[in-house]
């Protein structure tokens, strides 16, 4: 790999293609799918569920990859690290990132595992319930983390979901160390309340000592601190990391940055169709803002704007020109 140019954000996450179908609540119940959550499934279960699902649309996904796509869509310089197979879905995944100008050089898998996929069921309330077969994403390894791609980025962004595959958490830790040694910042998303349940002690340790910028939604941060109210979790996270961005859906977000606490409105979407990618795009806008000289409050407003775009249509990646949207909003 040639030495990369200076980057705003490098993201690391599970490389996933989303298969999105509409569903009713009964289908979720009949198939034992946890509403609003992300459940890991194996290849056989993925095949069975896919067979039972209605017609869908396919789109590149993956939490950190969505964020990186958003950063690039806003005009930022971004890179992604994550593992696909040399198959059709893998080609789609790589194409979609590179078409946005994202640097994506992770060597493809050498195993038999196909590219990972997430079966996303969207209920009429716009809630999404995800069943993920990680596939080749399972094989992400520390050797896939190119130190130059990390050191070149102002912020390295890591998803909590990396705790699921066997070696990915080591890749996470390697990236974190390289970034800090290069004097860069490390951001992390808690990903999902069930993910927090699985790895709470390790996440608590990370948040208290290693992470500079934390992203969490209301249920995730409450799960992390086993808090009964949002405010209890808010008090718990203060002082733990330099910046915590706590998202609350239509209630907006709260940003804690040292002594500062900001309470920022959500941006009402043109229509509410599918909440998939809301948190990912908030993170994109926030990271874009921070890496472009905006303060945390202004960055959060960009995050809210980007999130409002992605929830107004099916799928986890922007479908509008985010740069134009940003300009129009005066942000």
């Amino acid at each position: 790999m040639s030495k990369p140019a200076s980057l705003d954000v490098t993201g690391i996450g599970n490389a996933i293609v989303d298969i999105i179908a509409k569903s009713d609540d009964a289908f979720l119940i009949n198939n034992a799918i946890t509403k609003g959550g992300m459940t890991l499934i194996d290849a056989a279960a993925a095949t069975t569920l896919y067979g039972a699902m209605g017609p869908g649309i396919e789109t590149s996904g993956g939490s950190a990859a969505n964020t990186i796509a958003g950063v690039a869509g806003l005009g930022g310089k971004a890179a992604f690290i994550g593992k696909v197979q040399k198959d059709q879905l893998g080609e789609v995944f790589a194409h979609d990132l590179r078409a946005l100008g994202v640097q994506y050089d992770t060597p493809a898998s050498t195993s038999e595992s196909p590219t990972g996929r997430c079966l996303v069921l969207v209920t009429p309330d716009a809630q999404r319930s995800m069943s993920t077969f990680l596939g080749a994403g399972q094989e992400l390894h520390p050797r896939d983390v190119d130190p130059a791609t990390i050191a070149a980025a102002q912020i390295t962004y890591l998803e909590g979901y990396l705790w699921d595959p066997p070696h990915a958490k080591d890749a996470f830790r390697k990236a974190m160390d390289v970034a800090h040694q290069a004097g860069r910042q490390v951001a992390m998303s808690l990903s999902d309340a069930f993910c927090v349940e699985r790895y709470r002690d390790e996440f608590l340790h990370l948040v208290a000592g290693n992470i500079d910028i934390l992203f969490a939604n209301e249920t995730e941060i409450m799960s992390l601190y086993q808090a009964e109210t949002f405010d209890e979790a808010l008090q718990a996270v203060r002082g733990k990391c330099a910046v915590a961005a706590l998202t609350r859906s239509e209630k907006g977000c709260v940003i804690v940055a040292g002594d500062e606490v900001h309470v920022i409105e959500a941006v009402k979407p043109a229509q509410l169709i599918d909440t998939t990618g809301a948190g990912d795009l908030f993170a994109a806008g926030f990271l874009f803002g921070l890496t472009h000289g905006r303060n945390v409050a202004a960055s959060a407003r960009i995050g809210a704007l980007a999130a409002s775009e992605v929830i107004a249509h099916l799928g986890p990646r922007p479908q509008s020109d985010l740069k134009a949207l940003l300009k129009k909003s005066g942000l």
Copy 2:
């Protein structure tokens, strides 16, 4: 006046009886009534509007008086200072406070002015629009402020509306001075965004130097600091007074207390009927909490609970047993 026993809260405000009727938006437009606001009207306008209104219900009201009724309803020891006439509505007003155990000794008016009334029009969206004829309330004078009733209370609570009558602001200032000289705290409500417009400079001065506990809703605090966003107003009020309780309707409230910032949920009402008194009852719960050893976060939860009771029915005063509600909620 005999020396009062030790009190939790003494409130001072315009003594008002509310006349509440349902209305549609067209009626507000046809009668040039500012939706959601409080407009001062004279006796003639009150008569005309009352003639045009549909059938109503009468209930004791007045912002600070509602708060004091709430404090008493929660089990607190409270007093009220405000001016009525010796007429039927004045009797109703005094009766309703005393029936709750509130100490109410303000001498009645010696003029011809009848007891003040507020014509409240409630639209189907539960919003209330108020047209107030102050009547005898106009005559509140510093001599009505009994120093012992102020000095005996842990907190003296003053409504911003006191800036409207000619001598009431002097009564406000006298009460503030007596309270502070007695080592007590002074709380103030900004009352209404239009009230803030009328007296912004004086309110800014009060908040920055004289008030210990500030109550404001989102539009009021944004009006005070001429802020474009809630967050801008939030940053502006930090450090200005010991405690600022900023209410945001269904978005809950934000409490700023020195370095602490708390974000507290609203309590969903059984049904949303009439928002009249929501801010007043929030203040009641918050002040009850503070004067009963609760911290600001727990006090805000009591405030949210009391507000949820009053918006579930027509009228600005609780209709349920607030003490029982508090117990049931584990607060």
